[in-house]
């Protein structure tokens, strides 16, 4: 327990350093754009592939399990939409990005630490924590919601494709279900979750990378810890945010 609070304290101190005033905004703006490309744009592929298959599988599962004549077939489209918007596109995609982006950040910053690149930045008078971590946090907070929207659209499209090609239901019924009882608040809730998860992934991974020490084995361990802790944090905050927004 003491170790947990010690780690939490060091994390808070690091975040204070991360969000202190940058040396020069113009340089940070360039880095934010660079990180949007590196961490966000380069994650579009994996988010799209997973989403289309998950949308398709959810639709298939619904179709197989809802065979009662009392339940309208359009409910399958509705259930797919709700699953994608409420949980899959934000939470599951975030968990996958925790693996991809989180390990990338922790190993990049960890390697910089053990090869003294962070020391070099400090000696130049640069706030290394802010210079390295803040652009990543800002970039992902802005880009992950876009990935979430993309995931929603592609997932729902995946369901429509499987509905049409397998003949398990009429595509028109699926479309009807998609528009049934639509609440824009669900999308806002999902985007807020995506931004919170983006912050958690980048800040936690940055923390473990920044305090890595020793050799390449330690960088590997820092990377693993970053993914595990980010994933747990996502699940905990998913519960908290759901409680706050949907009850």
């Amino acid at each position: 327990m003491i170790k947990f609070f010690d780690t939490l304290g060091r994390y808070c101190l690091l975040m204070k350093k991360v969000f202190s005033r940058p040396e020069k905004w113009s340089i940070y703006r360039k880095r934010i754009v660079f990180e949007m490309d590196a961490l966000g744009y380069n994650s579009i592929g994996i988010a799209a592939i997973i989403s289309i298959f998950m949308g398709a599988v959810v639709t298939l599962q619904m179709a197989i399990n809802l065979e009662s004549p009392f339940i309208p077939r359009s409910l399958i489209g509705y259930a797919t939409r709700e699953t994608m918007i409420l949980e899959f596109s934000s939470t599951v995609v975030a968990l996958i990005l925790a693996g991809k982006v989180g390990s990338n950040i922790a190993s990049e910053i960890g390697t910089m630490r053990i090869t003294e690149q962070i020391d070099a930045l400090e000696i130049m008078g640069i706030n290394s924590a802010s210079y390295l971590i803040m652009p990543k946090i800002v970039a992902t907070i802005f880009f992950f919601p876009l990935l979430t929207i993309l995931s929603m659209v592609i997932g729902v499209f995946g369901g429509w494709v499987v509905a049409g090609f397998t003949g398990i239901m009429m595509p028109d019924d699926y479309i009807e279900g998609l528009f049934y009882a639509f609440r824009p608040l669900s999308i806002i809730y999902s985007l807020i979750k995506a931004s919170v998860f983006a912050y958690l992934i980048t800040s936690i991974s940055g923390f473990f990378g920044y305090y890595a020490q020793g050799n390449s084995l330690e960088v590997g361990r820092a990377s693993t810890k970053a993914v595990v802790v980010s994933s747990i944090a996502i699940l905990v905050f998913n519960l908290i945010l759901t409680q706050i927004f949907l009850t």
């Binding site: 340089i27 690149q117 020391d119 070099a120 400090e122 130049m124």
Partner: protein, 250 residues
């Protein structure tokens, strides 16, 4: 002038630096020598503030560096250039970007002015055409030279070099040593070089501090070093065949 007073640094209960007081002369090439694990890198990193010392004080000229807060230290650090053992160039940036970074962050110069300065520094270290190369594409000697170029880009008053010759062949080591000495003299920089290379000691050392088991064991000039009767220093110095020959020829 850089001065350390009664520096103590403790790692996991072990006194890695034990009451070390040192004075490094302004405008000279000062050397910290000692065996691996003696504490010389810890001393160098403590002097620049990368390690927080547990006791003692460090002065840059008359400014007590240890008592400064983070922002005040940033101002002093702009006067410090440092060359790390492995070069510590940013892997994701080109040579040009590595050298220009301090200018981008701390000056209001135009892009042309910054590039002029980058070109000057790269020419000074004899790498006039390396702008677009990444650190992974450079040899060990080139990495050290780019690190020197980056260290001098803001015209520092103090230059710290941590084992600048490690991993280099003897010829390249001499090139790097001479470059450090020339830069020190040209710009009147206070330079501190951390080394265990006796060739460097004999070539560029003006003032030498010998660290042994975390304590300052000896200090003097390169001429004094060969005549010292300090047993630990002699064990270190005369482990090198070159130094043995030098002593024999005296």
């Amino acid at each position: 002038m850089i001065r350390g007073e009664n520096i103590v640094k403790i790692f996991d209960g072990r006194r890695v630096l034990d009451d070390v007081s040192v004075l490094f002369d302004a405008g000279k090439t000062n050397l910290i020598i000692g065996r691996s694990g003696s504490g010389k890198t810890v001393l160098l990193k403590s002097l620049v503030g990368l390690h927080e010392i547990d006791e003692g004080n460090i002065y840059f000229d008359d400014l007590c560096y240890t008592k400064l807060d983070f922002n005040a230290r940033k101002a002093v650090r702009k006067d410090i250039g440092m060359i790390f053992q492995g070069g510590a160039l940013l892997d994701s940036s080109t040579v040009e970007d590595n050298i220009r970074l301090p200018l981008d962050l701390f000056t209001e110069q135009s892009f042309e002015e910054k590039m002029e300065r980058v070109n000057f520094c790269l020419k000074r270290v004899n790498l006039p055409n390396a702008h677009k190369l990444y650190p992974a594409e450079l040899s060990g000697g080139m990495i050290k030279r780019v690190a020197i170029a980056r260290a001098i880009v803001l015209n520092p008053k103090y230059l710290f070099c941590d084992e600048p010759n490690s991993g280099l062949d003897p010829m390249t080591s001499i090139v790097i040593d001479n470059l450090i000495k020339e830069i020190t003299e040209e710009y009147n920089i206070t330079t501190i070089v951390n080394t265990h290379d006796m060739n460097s000691v004999m070539e560029i050392g003006e003032k030498i501090v010998f660290i042994h088991e975390g304590k300052k064991w000896w200090e003097g000039t390169k001429h004094d070093i060969l005549q010292s009767d300090n047993r630990e220093l002699n064990d270190f110095v005369f482990a090198s065949a070159m130094a043995k020959r030098a002593k024999a020829n005296m």
